[in-house]
């Protein structure tokens, strides 16, 4: 980062505070919130008879969030470009070429996809650690069934914050940082298709995270991340934060998916045919499709929820024409693709990294692509397995049982490709490889436990219990978070230019792997023994297992601290430069200089093979061979 700040006109630091940046954005957000709150009060106060039975002024809070976000975006400078263009000024690349700003460019609107990638990983990382801290509090509360560290109200707020933070912010944790950073480099593009939208999705997500955290000032929310209605309708103003958060996340996800789809489809360099696309890019394509198609459903559901709470419609209120099944349906039509939005990028990372560390081409490329597209297609047809015992469409249960179990076919393709790739390879146990292998084990357990939940007779016991909780932590934490760390250790040095400490990385992996399994393995047993999810107390005979789980969870927390220490120590203090190609990867991004130049490629790259030409002599790096064309 400092290496590239040697630009001709280095301004004094204080001048960076002038202009549109995070500071003005925060001022804009506060002003916007106050304006929105004022307008909401003006709407609410004159017609108290109509709104009288609400315990609070939800209109003011929701309008406050809306105007606050608009103010934030204007303060960030998103309005400048359209306004300038409307006034007749020529287009400018000033927002893209901000390398002279040094660190300051990470705190303002920047459309360089490499800057946005770093912004994403740091920004989501902050909220990831907030969500993780909530998990530590949850496990503290569950140490004892009778004496409570927090009490039921705070406990449920913690549960809701943890779940919502993880399922909301973490949806973009691979596509935000890594797809934004890597896809243009992998396909030979100089930027994303819509660079301003790219920056917009990031700042929208940050605004969403802040909105969710504000729930603690409004009494929290007691619905968990699923936000079921009509329970949500009873909620205090804290539930408005839930609505605001998920709406912003949904919008951010939708735009992120759109941007990535457009980039992959339209901006591939010559020679980057569909059958040469890196498998990670295929997984991004499959995920982006899900993001684009699933999140509008969430937005619709939330909008109806917001109307129920503010202008007293009755979409989810039984007895006045609404139905609580409506929320369940809409939420899970979004929610089940959502869990694959979380899982699919992990498939791509594992299959992208296994060839590098087995020194072999990816085995069964077409099967892997079919697997990813198959998962993303099937994921739209399984949502009612969340409602197996709800009494809705009971005749359709055999269909949803079948469609859910069918998903194990394309997932099985991914496993076969992983197995074929490592077979007779020359396997190197680097830190990223360890995390990929951790994924294999965790996702195997997660997938198999999913079969129990997809089978109706077995689901009657396990539904809504700690068993299902353990299942999705195996797929999401064991799947997504392990591959996230694989990606950080693998691409991180390329992104920042500095090496990670390998010894600390290995300590991080082994402590996380052991503690993770020791935490979530026993949860299967707790679920089968009859412990429902999201309870603040439990039968005393289950205390031994719960204490074991809590202590293991604290070890996960310590393991994450090891990672933080590694991150801060190696990236901020030691700063050992990473210049070459440490993994001897043949993928395009590793052939570029570190740090990657602002415009990525000097000349239009031409691809003549996929990124896995391992074992084919002569060893070349053909991906970025210049073709003489001008870019």
């Amino acid at each position: 980062m400092t290496a590239i700040s040697a630009s001709p006109s280095r301004r004094p630091a204080w001048q960076h505070l002038i202009g549109f940046n995070l500071l003005t954005a925060i001022v804009g957000a506060i002003l916007g919130y106050l304006i929105g709150h004022f307008i909401g009060g003006r709407i609410h106060a004159p017609s108290l008879d109509f709104f009288g039975d609400t315990g609070q002024n939800d209109i003011a809070i929701l309008l406050g969030y809306l105007f606050g976000v608009i103010g934030f975006m204007i303060g960030m400078g998103f309005a400048n470009y359209p306004v300038r263009r409307m006034l007749g000024y020529p287009p400018t690349l000033a927002e893209h070429e901000s390398e002279g700003l040094g660190l300051a460019r990470y705190f303002r609107l920047c459309t360089d996809h490499k800057v946005v990638g770093i912004q994403y990983i740091v920004g989501i990382g902050v909220f990831f650690f907030i969500g993780g801290l909530n998990a530590m509090f949850i496990r503290t509360e569950l140490l004892n069934p009778n004496s409570h560290a927090f009490g039921p109200n705070q406990y449920l707020t913690l549960v809701g914050m943890h779940g919502t933070m993880m399922m909301g912010m973490m949806t973009s944790v691979i596509l935000g940082p890594f797809a934004n950073w890597l896809v243009p480099l992998m396909i030979g593009a100089r930027r994303m298709a819509f660079p301003r939208i790219e920056a917009f999705t990031f700042w929208l997500l940050m605004a969403a995270g802040v909105v969710l955290v504000t729930t603690v000032f409004f009494g929290g929310f007691q619905t968990g991340w699923t936000g079921y209605q009509p329970l949500g309708g009873q909620g205090t103003a804290g539930y408005d934060a839930y609505i605001g958060f998920f709406a912003l996340v949904g919008l951010s996800m939708c735009l992120l998916g759109l941007n990535l789809l457009a980039t992959i489809i339209t901006m591939r360099a010559p020679g980057m045919t569909w059958s040469r696309l890196p498998i990670f890019v295929w997984s991004v394509l499959a995920t982006a499709t899900l993001m684009l198609l699933a999140s509008p459903m969430l937005l619709a559901a939330l909008l109806m929820g917001a109307f129920d709470r503010t202008v007293q419609t009755g979409f989810y209120v039984p007895g006045v024409g609404g139905s609580s099944y409506l929320w369940q349906n809409l939420f899970w039509v979004f929610g089940h693709p959502e869990v694959y939005i979380v899982a699919l990028p992990g498939f791509g990372i594992v299959l992208e990294l296994l060839p590098v560390f087995s020194r072999k081409p990816l085995w069964g490329y077409r099967l892997a692509v079919a697997g990813m597209l198959g998962v993303s297609l099937l994921s739209f047809f399984v949502w009612q397995h969340h409602l197996f015992v709800s009494g809705i469409n009971a005749d359709l249960r055999p269909f949803y049982m079948l469609s859910t179990e069918l998903i194990s076919l394309p997932t099985g393709f991914i496993f076969l490709c992983a197995m074929g790739t490592i077979w007779r390879g020359r396997i190197r146990f680097t830190v990223p490889m360890l995390f990929c292998l951790g994924w294999v084990f965790n996702f195997l357990i997660g997938g198999i436990s999913g079969v129990f939940l997809s089978d109706v007779p077995s689901d009657v016991t396990t539904h809504g219990s700690f068993f299902s909780m353990a299942h999705f932590h195996y797929t999401i934490m064991g799947g997504l978070v392990f591959t996230l760390f694989a990606a950080i250790y693998y691409w991180g040095p390329k992104m920042t230019g500095f090496k990670f400490n390998e010894r600390l990385g290995k300590i991080h992996f082994w402590s996380l792997f052991v503690a993770f399994n020791s935490t979530f393995g026993p949860l299967f047993a707790l679920g089968l023994l009859g412990m429902p999810r999201r309870v603040v107390t439990y039968p005393t005979n289950l205390q031994g297992l719960n204490v074991w789980v809590s202590i293991s969870a604290f070890v996960i927390g310590l393991s994450m601290l090891v990672f933080l220490v590694n991150l801060v120590w190696s990236q901020l203090f030691v700063r050992e430069p990473e210049v070459g190609n440490p993994w001897a990867s043949k993928s395009a991004e590793w052939q570029l200089p570190t740090p990657v130049p602002v415009h990525d490629f000097d000349r239009m790259p031409v691809f003549d093979s996929d990124p896995y030409p391992y074992g084919v002599p002569p060893v070349t790096s053909p991906q970025v061979a210049p073709a003489g064309g001008t870019a």
Binding site: Q234, P318, R359, W363, P457, G615
Partner: protein, 278 residues
């Protein structure tokens, strides 16, 4: 050593480990897995879990053995030099076989689960028009479960619509639960009975269970329903039919004054005033 040898060794280890572990899992571990054989439905769930465990053990072992073998045997022994493995990019036959075998497993799993579910309803909530109905020769005992924040109440339409605060059921009897809610979504989970049915306001969710011998059981709410969700639990009992008759008579006498102010028995209720936001 050539490829065929490696493959045969993996196969051998897998067969041996499966032969050892699968019976252990199916006959030792799985029968001990809750919810036990207190009712026909819960015993069915135990059987179902045993089948799933029996099937998933060799599958999990296949992947684990393959990975463990590969990671040990094919590890890089000269990490200094970067050497590539053989450039194999796939094998159509293996891929085809994998697709065929996994498809057969998945389809038979779905078929088995459907058959088990239609057999006795598996204790799950089936909505107002159940597809898995019990033998009509013996009329079932109807029990309405009314969930509300944060308590389950029970009504017996066959006994004058009496409403009780706790649940007792006769042994060796088909029970027809009608689960509904007065406010938000709850879930009626009678653990040892093997019954789980969501309680949704405005909906009648029917679940069947065939009780066997007398048994104490736990009732939990299994769907997050607000602040005191964790404390929404109760104890129930399956008792001998004579004891049940005595209990329900006692309840009829005890709750007679309350019965007068209750609404007439219905499959759903909407409390007055309509509960709205806030």
């Amino acid at each position: 050593m050539n490829e065929v040898h490696h493959f045969r060794r993996v196969l051998l280890i897998w067969v041996v480990s499966s032969v050892i572990f699968t019976p252990l899992v199916v006959f030792v571990l799985a029968p001990g897995i809750p919810p036990g054989d207190g009712t026909v439905q819960s015993a069915g769930q135990v059987t179902d879990n045993a089948v799933l465990f029996g099937l998933s053990t060799p599958i999990a072992l296949a992947v684990l053995v393959f990975f463990a073998y590969s990671l040990i045997v094919f590890r890089e022994r000269q990490p200094e030099a970067v050497l590539d493995g053989p450039p194999v990019r796939g094998h159509a036959g293996i891929q085809l076989w994998w697709i065929v075998v996994t498809s057969v497993i998945v389809l038979s799993l779905a078929g088995y689960g459907t058959a088990r579910m239609l057999d006795d309803g598996a204790g799950g909530g089936q909505g107002p028009n159940p597809i898995a109905k019990p033998d009509p020769s013996q009329p079932p005992l109807q029990v309405q479960v009314i969930a509300q924040q944060w308590k389950f109440l029970f009504r017996f339409p066959g006994y004058g619509g009496v409403e009780t605060a706790h649940l007792e059921l006769p042994s060796n009897r088909m029970i027809e639960f009608h689960v509904t809610s007065l406010d938000v979504i709850h879930s009626f989970w009678a653990y040892q009975l093997g019954v789980k049915a969501d309680a949704t306001p405005g909906a009648d969710n029917i679940a069947y269970v065939q009780t066997k011998k007398p048994l104490g059981f736990d009732i939990h709410c299994a769907e997050l329903c607000g602040v005191w969700h964790g404390y929404m639990f109760d104890k129930g009992a399956v008792v001998a039919p004579t004891q049940f008759t005595a209990w329900i008579r006692q309840q009829q006498v005890r709750f007679a004054p309350i019965r007068k102010s209750l609404p007439p028995y219905s499959t759903t209720y909407f409390p007055e005033p309509q509960k709205r936001a806030g």
